[in-house]
Amino acid sequence: MLASYIIRRVITFIPILFIISILSYLIIELPPGDYLTTYIIQLRSQGMEVSQEQILNLTRYYGLDKPIYVRYAKWIWNIIAHGNFGWSFRFNRPVSAVIWERIPLTMTISGLTLLFTYIVAIPIGIFSAVKQYSVFDYVFTFLGFIGFAVPSFLLALLVLWISFRYFGVAVTGLFSPNYAEAPWSLMKVVDMLKRVWVPIFVVGFGGMTGLIRVTRASLLDELHKQYVIVARAKGVPEQKLIFKYPLRVAINPLISSVGWLLPGIVSGESIAAIVLNLPTTGPVLLSALLSQDTYLAGSFILILSFLVLLGNLISDLLLAVLDPRIRFEGVSE
C-alpha cells in the first residue's frame, strides 16, 4: 500500500515535469535575440570586431538556426534517451559537467548552513516559547526580524566591507589566493573553513527567523494544552516534559517544509553567493538566464523542479512516519 502510494506519486512527476520543461524553455527563449546576440555585443564592447560570417558560423555551430520546437524536441529527447542535458554555450562544455562539478561544494556549504540554522534556531525558538515575553524572547525576535528584513546580499556586502576595512581581511572568495588553484588537501580544507563562516552566517542569519517563529508559535500552541498541564501535575521534570511531548507535535510544520530543503541544498543561495564570489550552482543559474544559455538554464530548472517534487514526496512520507494520525487510504492501523 505504501509502495503503491509512492509509485502513484512518482508517476504524477512525469506530466508535471513535462509541462515545466516546456514552460521554462519558452520563458528562457522569450527575450529577443539569443545567446549569440548578447555574446557578440559583449565582445564588441571590449573592442573586438565580429564579422557577419563568423556570426553565421557560430549560429550553425550552436544549432541556433533551427526553429524552437526542433531545438526543444532534440533537447528533451537527449535527456530521456541519453541522459545528455545538452551543451552550455557560455562554459563551452556539456551541461552535466558544469553542474556536476559544482554540486559537492554547493551541497557542503548549503548543508553546513542548514545545520547552523537548525541548530541555532530551534533551541532559540523553544526557549522563546517557554520563556515567552521575557527579555530573551524580545531580543532574539528583534534580531531575527532584522536578519530577515535585511537582504542577504546587503548583509554580505556589509560583512565583506567590515572585514576588509577593520580587520584587513579581504574575503574575496571561498579560498585565499594561495589555495585557489591548488588541488584538494587538508590545508585547503582548513583554509576553506576559515572563510566559509561568512556565507553560512549571511545566509543562515536570514533563514533563522522563519524557523524561530514557527517553532515558537507551534510550541506555544502545544504548551497551553491539557496534556502538558497534566504531565506537569504528575511531576514530570520540566525539560523532559517539553522535549518528550509538545515538541514532537510542534515539529510537525517544520517537517512538512523539509521537502524544500532538497532543492535548496542543490541550488544554494544565489545572490549572496554572487556577492561572496562562491563557485556554487546558484550564480551559474543566474548567469545562464542572463546570457540565454538555454540548455544550461533549462536543464537546471528541470533538475530543481524534480528535486522539489521529490522533496515534497519525502516530507509527506516523513510526516506519515512521524505523526501516527496521518495515514494513507487503504492502509489499516
Partner: protein
C-alpha cells in the same frame, strides 16, 4: 723539419679545437633563459635554449610591440620571475587573459593605421606590385609549445582542411576574400617551400595586411598545429580511433566538426580541458584549469627575445581567478590581489581604487579606451515626415550640438578623464542653439514652452538607451536635460540590449546612442558601415546597390565616398582622412559628446615596462615585456 711540421700540426689542431669550443660556448652564451627552464634543461627534460628558439627569433624593440607614441622611452631589460594575477568574469574567458596571450602573424604597433607593419610570428612578407600576391616567410626553427617544428604543412592543413572544409567553416570570413569583402573570391594558397608560402587574391587587396595585423587576430588565421589536430579530422585520422573519441564525447559521426572545434583554439573561446591540450605559439600556456582559476606557465618554445638575448616572457606564471560580480572584482582589486586589470576595473569605482592605491600596492593609470563613448547618431531614415524634414536640416543638428554642455558631461560622467571632441564643433552655446532652431522655423512654442514642429504639434525627440556600457545612461541623461533647456521635448527610455539592437535594425529609433566607431582611429576601415548603421534604410540602399532602401542625400553620399576610400582594402591616405574629418565636422551626421575617453587601468606598482599613455588595451597585448622590479 719533420718535428717542426708535426709541432705546427699539433698546435693548429689544438688551436682549432680551442676556437671551436669558444665559438660553441659563444653561441651558448648568446641566448639566456628563465631559471625554471634552465633547471629542466639540466635534468634533460628540455632541449637547450638555442634549439628551442627559431634561427632568427624576434628581438623585442620599442616600437615592435604595440608601444604608443614614444612614451616608453626605453624598453628595459627585465628580470625573470613572478606571477601575474588577473581576474575574469565569464567562465574560462577574460579579455585580460585573452589579449595577454594573443600572437598575431604580423605586428602593427598601436592602433595608428599609418605605422609600418612588421613581422611577428611570421618573419616577414613581400607584396607584389599589383597588390594581389602576398609572400610570407615563416621563421625557420619556430616550434609549437610541445616542441614540434612549425612548417608550411601547418599552413596547408589550415587552408585546405579547415578553411575550405565546409563542415568546419560553413561561411568563410571576409579576411580570406578578395578586397576584404564578404562577397569577394576566396584567396588561393601556394606553398613554395617548408618556410615560405604565398596568398593570392583575384583582385588587388592592399588592406589584407592591415586586417591580419590587428592586435586581436591570432596566428590561428593561417597556422594551426597539424600534428595535433589531424587526429580529429576524418581525412587523416584512423577511423576506429576517431569513432572511439566521438563515442566517448557522446557525438555522432557526422558531428566530428564539433569534436574538432572542441580541441582547437577558436577566437574568443573560453578555456576548456579539451582545448588547453592544443599546442600554441603563445607566451604562456595553460597548465591547470579549475572551475574558478586558469593557470598559465611560460612557453619554453616562445620565439621572442629581448635586446640582450633573454628568452621572453620575463614573468613565469599567470593566474586568472573568476569573479562572480563586479563587487567581488572591486574588493579583490583594492585588497591588492590583482596585478593587472582593465575590463573589470569599472570607472564608477575609480575613486575607491585611487583611495586604496598605497594599501593595495597598485597604481591606477588612466588610459584611453579603444572604442568611442556614447554618441548621438541621427537616423535619417526614421519613418516620420516631420522628423525627416527636421533632421535633414543641418541647422537642427548644429543646434543640438551647440546645446550640449560637454564640460559638465566630462566632469560628471567621465571624472574629468575625457576630452572635447575634434570631429564635431565643441562649442557650448545655448544662444546659438536657440537662434538656429528659431531660424529653422521651430520658433513657435506651445503653452508649456515646448517647440512646435512644422505640423503644428509638439516636436518630440525620443532617446533610447541601453546600459551596455556604464556611461550610456548618465551621459544621455545630461544630454536630454540640455535638449529640454532649448525647448525640445525630450524623453529618455532604457531598454534591454538585445531589444535595442532589434529596434535599431527595424528602423524604429530616431537616434542611435550605442557606440559608433565612425570616428575611431583603428576602426576607420569600417567607417562606411558605421556611418550607415544608425540609418537602416541607407544601409539597405548601399548593400542592394540602390534597389532597396532609401537613397541618401548628396552630402551623405560624398561623406560615404570619402569614408570608403579609407575603408577596407585601402592603405592610409592622410589627405583623404583630413578631408573626411573636415566634411564630418561640417555635416555632423553623428554628434560625439566627448572623445578620447579614459579609464583607469590597474597595474601592480612593482611591474615595469609599463607604458602610461595611449589605449589601455595595448598594455595587455605586450605583456611579454612586463617584469617585476
Amino acid at each position: 723539419m719533420k718535428k717542426l711540421l708535426i709541432g705546427v700540426l699539433v698546435v693548429s689542431l689544438v688551436l682549432s679545437v680551442f676556437v671551436g669550443f669558444n665559438s660553441v660556448s659563444f653561441a651558448q652564451k648568446r641566448y639566456k633563459e628563465a631559471p625554471m627552464l634552465a633547471e629542466l634543461v639540466k635534468s634533460g627534460k628540455l632541449p637547450p635554449v638555442e634549439q628551442r628558439l627559431p634561427k632568427e627569433p624576434l628581438v623585442l624593440t620599442l616600437r615592435r610591440n604595440a608601444a604608443p607614441d614614444g612614451v616608453l622611452k626605453t624598453l628595459k631589460i627585465g628580470k625573470y620571475g613572478g606571477t601575474l594575477r588577473l581576474i575574469h568574469a565569464a567562465p574560462g574567458f577574460g579579455p585580460e587573459m585573452y589579449f595577454l596571450t594573443i600572437e598575431p602573424l604580423l605586428s602593427r604597433p598601436g592602433y595608428n593605421i599609418a605605422d609600418p607593419i612588421t613581422g611577428n610570428v611570421l618573419k616577414g612578407y613581400k607584396i607584389s606590385p599589383d597588390k594581389k600576391t602576398f609572400t610570407f616567410f615563416l621563421r625557420e626553427g619556430l616550434k609549437w609549445s610541445d616542441g614540434v617544428p612549425v612548417t608550411t604543412d601547418d599552413v596547408k592543413f589550415n587552408y585546405e582542411d579547415i578553411i575550405l572544409n565546409s563542415d568546419l567553416t560553413p561561411s568563410i570570413p571576409y579576411y580570406y576574400r578578395a578586397e576584404m569583402k564578404s562577397d569577394g573570391a576566396v584567396c588561393k594558397l601556394e606553398v613554395l617551400d617548408q618556410y615560405t608560402f604565398r596568398i593570392t587574391f583575384a583582385k588587388p587587396t592592399p588592406g589584407f595586411l592591415d586586417e591580419i595585423s590587428k592586435p586581436w587576430m591570432d596566428y590561428t588565421l593561417f597556422i594551426q598545429p597539424k600534428h595535433f589536430l589531424k587526429q580529429f579530422h576524418p581525412k587523416y585520422a584512423d577511423k576506429d580511433e576517431l569513432a572511439k573519441k566521438l563515442a566517448s564525447a557522446k557525438l555522432l559521426t557526422e558531428e566530428w566538426a564539433r569534436l574538432f572545434k572542441q580541441y582547437s583554439l577558436l577566437p574568443w573561446a573560453s578555456k576548456t580541458p579539451e582545448n588547453i591540450q592544443c599546442p600554441t605559439l603563445h607566451p604562456w600556456i595553460v597548465t591547470n584549469l579549475t572551475p574558478t582559476t586558469v593557470t598559465f606557465e611560460r612557453n619554453p618554445y616562445y620565439f621572442k627575445v629581448d635586446a640582450v638575448g633573454n628568452q621572453l616572457p620575463y614573468i613565469d606564471k599567470v593566474v586568472s581567478t573568476k569573479v562572480e560580480s563586479t563587487d567581488a572584482a572591486v574588493l579583490k582589486i583594492i585588497s591588492g590581489e590583482v596585478d593587472l586589470a582593465d575590463e573589470l576595473a569599472r570607472m564608477t569605482s575609480y575613486p575607491l581604487f585611487k583611495q586604496y592605491e598605497a594599501k593595495g600596492g597598485y597604481k591606477v593609470i588612466p588610459m584611453e579606451l579603444p572604442y568611442n563613448p556614447t554618441v548621438l547618431a541621427f537616423n535619417f531614415t526614421y519613418d516620420d515626415p516631420v522628423w525627416q524634414k527636421i533632421v535633414n536640416d543641418l541647422r537642427f543638428r548644429q543646434a543640438l550640438n551647440y546645446a550640449i554642455d560637454r564640460n559638465h558631461i566630462i566632469d560628471a560622467v567621465y571624472y574629468g578623464l575625457a576630452e572635447l571632441p575634434e570631429w564635431v564643433p565643441a562649442e557650448y552655446n545655448v544662444a546659438k542653439a536657440n537662434a538656429l532652431l528659431d531660424e529653422m522655423g521651430l520658433d513657435k512654442k506651445d503653452t508649456q514652452g515646448w517647440r512646435l514642429g512644422p505640423d503644428g504639434k509638439r516636436f518630440e525627440l525620443h532617446i533610447v538607451v541601453t546600459p551596455h556600457l556604464p556611461d550610456t545612461i548618465p551621459a544621455n541623461e545630461i544630454v536630454a536635460e540640455n535638449f529640454k533647456a532649448i525647448g525640445l521635448y525630450t524623453t529618455l527610455d532604457t531598454i534591454d540590449v538585445s531589444l535595442y539592437f532589434q529596434r535599431r535594425s527595424g528602423n524604429q529609433l530616431q537616434v542611435d546612442t550605442s557606440w559608433n566607431e565612425a570616428t575611431t582611429l583603428y576602426a576607420l576601415g569600417h567607417a562606411p558601415s558605421n556611418l550607415t548603421a544608425p540609418s537602416p534604410l541607407f544601409d539597405q540602399w548601399y548593400s542592394s546597390d540602390g534597389k532597396k532602401g532609401k537613397e541618401p542625400p548628396q552630402w551623405f553620399k560624398e561623406l560615404y565616398n570619402l569614408a570608403s576610400q579609407i575603408g577596407p582594402g585601402h592603405r592610409w591616405n592622410e589627405k583623404i582622412f583630413q578631408e573626411f574629418k573636415q566634411k564630418f565636422r561640417d555635416t555632423i551626421p553623428i554628434i560625439n559628446y566627448v572623445e578620447k575617453q579614459k579609464k583607469g587601468i590597474i597595474v601592480n606598482a612593482k611591474l615595469d615596462n609599463v607604458f602610461t599613455t595611449g589605449v589601455g588595451q595595448w598594455l595587455l597585448y605586450s605583456a611579454e615585456q612586463l617584469f617585476y622590479k
